[in-house]
Amino acid sequence: MLLIVCPYCGKRPEIEFAYGGQAHLARPNQPSQLDDQAWAEFLYMRTNTKGIYAERWRHSRGCGRFFNALRDTTTDHFLAFYKTGEAQPTLLGSGAPPTPRESAT
């Protein structure tokens, strides 16, 4: 089970959270202006990254708030947690060892 650090409540077990998928996907301002391909890209296409992935979580059985996290999908190590609206943190150098110890069991 993952240990997830909610930016508002602190470290909690994964079962308190709901997964929200890829982060930083903005709904297009004018959907009616998009062609079908662009709309399908927004609705259905995800990067499905093998490596460091920015994703949303919601502390659904806690404070209820959404936040974002960086996780390495090859190890399930979390690299950062940050609030919705904040910019994605830049990691020191590519391939930096994961510093937080929140890892999969």
């Binding site: 998928g21 296409m45 995800r46 499905n48 994703e55 999908t73 090859t74 190890t75 999969a104």
Partner: protein
């Protein structure tokens, strides 16, 4: 390559001669510089596609490239359930095509895949379940797919360990039974296809990871860069399950997939106690008994995307809660081991078996949590698609473009399965 043919007589003969003289069932060739077609991914779907390309489409200069060892991915990690009771016409055609191939697969491959149509029973626990399953029964029968409704006592008769008492949290209110469904031996499917494809001249190359896809001036596929050198081919079929996104990105093709861990577990082996396959989607439990005697139990996907081939224990315990409630006899069984595989899930929970925007590049992916049952049918129509550069009528609806055009095959909403 000459290879031994299996028969009852040959098995008895080998047995009496102390099992000496068995030969490797396929070669370990070095990759050639050029092939007429390459399949990326040596699971059941990929090996099967190579077999049908050679068997039915006359291509013999074919390679299957496998990053690890054949059958070591989801083919060796699933719970081996076979059924075709899907709601929509497109799905029923595809999955029933597969069941029909399963029925004669051991004979076709001269390899015992231990297909056992012992019946797949799906339990209803709520009024909604009853309505949905009865709808499935009727839809399936309209499509020529067998499925029948059982009352609780009939379900108990079909599967005696089942608890149909009314005092459990989600009592059994009925069940839908597909008698043609069942199980098969997962490893034997990979090995049987590998052996039969090899006999037709297919090169099966293990420990060979694709690291790049080269394209010519027109944009068409020209060659693959691999950890064992550059291999040329004008036709490449990608059948890489959870890693499909990674491979397709090498050619700049986006596919609507997300990769999740899916877990399964087995109990200690016991004598035959369980005659069929039982699935409960509402309280989430899949169970059958292998011929070794282990109870084979399928859990759900973890919540998050991952490539780690492992998941969290609470997913398994959730499933075991349901198993213990439905089958009180199994409460004292110990679990022997658990594991995870990475499954590629599409937004509508139906697969993609299609051409891609890149000429010469084909993809068979998106099988999500239920690809094993489709292995022969999927491989068969994928081979057709690669050989003829056009889809077989059965897989024609399963394109990438259906997401753009709004022609979803929405088993996500309709499926009998909790994904």
């Amino acid at each position: 390559m000459s290879r031994q043919s299996f028969s009852g007589l040959s098995l008895i003969w080998r047995s009496l001669s102390n099992h000496r003289g068995w030969q490797p069932q396929w070669r370990k060739p070095e990759p050639k510089a050029r092939y007429d077609a390459i399949i990326v991914g040596g699971g059941g779907h990929g090996l099967g596609a190579a077999y049908y390309l050679a068997k039915e489409h006359g291509l013999t200069n074919i390679a299957v490239l496998e990053k690890g060892w054949i059958g070591g991915g989801n083919t060796g990690r699933n719970t081996t359930i076979i059924r075709s009771n899907y709601l929509f016409n497109e799905s029923a055609a595809l999955y029933d095509h597969s069941v029909k191939l399963w029925e004669n697969l051991s004979q076709a491959l001269n390899y015992n895949v231990m297909f056992s149509p012992r019946g797949v029973m799906m339990l209803a626990h709520t009024v909604h379940d009853i309505q949905v399953f009865k709808r499935h029964v009727h839809a399936n029968r309209c499509n020529g797919v067998d499925n029948e409704w059982l009352e609780p006592a009939e379900a108990k008769e079909f599967c005696p360990p089942l608890n149909i008492e009314g005092n459990i949290r989600y009592p059994v209110l009925g069940a839908a039974l597909q008698r043609r469904g069942g199980t098969a031996r997962h490893d034997a499917v990979a090995w049987g296809y590998a052996r039969a494809a090899d006999a037709l001249g297919v090169d099966i190359i293990e420990n060979c990871e694709v690291t790049g896809i080269r394209r010519d001036a027109s944009g068409a596929v020209d060659a693959l860069e691999t950890t064992r050198g550059v291999i040329q081919s004008r036709k490449v079929g990608v059948s890489a399950a959870g890693h499909t996104s990674v491979i397709m990105a090498l050619a700049g093709v986006h596919v609507p997939l997300e990769s999740y861990p899916l877990q399964a577990l087995v109990s200690e082996p016991v004598k035959p106690v369980f005659p069929c396959v039982v699935m409960s989607n509402t309280i989430h439990a899949y169970i059958s008994q292998s011929d070794k005697g282990e109870l084979v139990i399928g859990a759900g996907t973890d919540a998050y995307t991952s490539y780690t081939q492992r998941g969290a224990l609470h997913i398994n315990t959730h499933t075991l809660d349901a198993i213990c409630e439905l089958f009180p006899n199994f409460r004292r069984l110990r679990m022997l081991r658990n594991w995870g595989g990475i499954v590629d899930v599409t937004p509508d929970r139906s697969p993609i078996i299609a051409k891609t925007p890149v000429p010469g590049l084909y993809v068979n992916c998106g099988w999500g949590t239920g690809g094993f049952k489709a292995t022969p049918g999927s491989a068969h129509v994928f081979a057709w698609t690669i050989a003829r550069d056009e889809p077989h009528p059965i897989n024609a609806p399963f394109t990438i473009e259906r997401f753009r055009d709004g022609y979803l095959i929405d088993e996500a909403a309709a499926a009998a399965v909790a994904h």
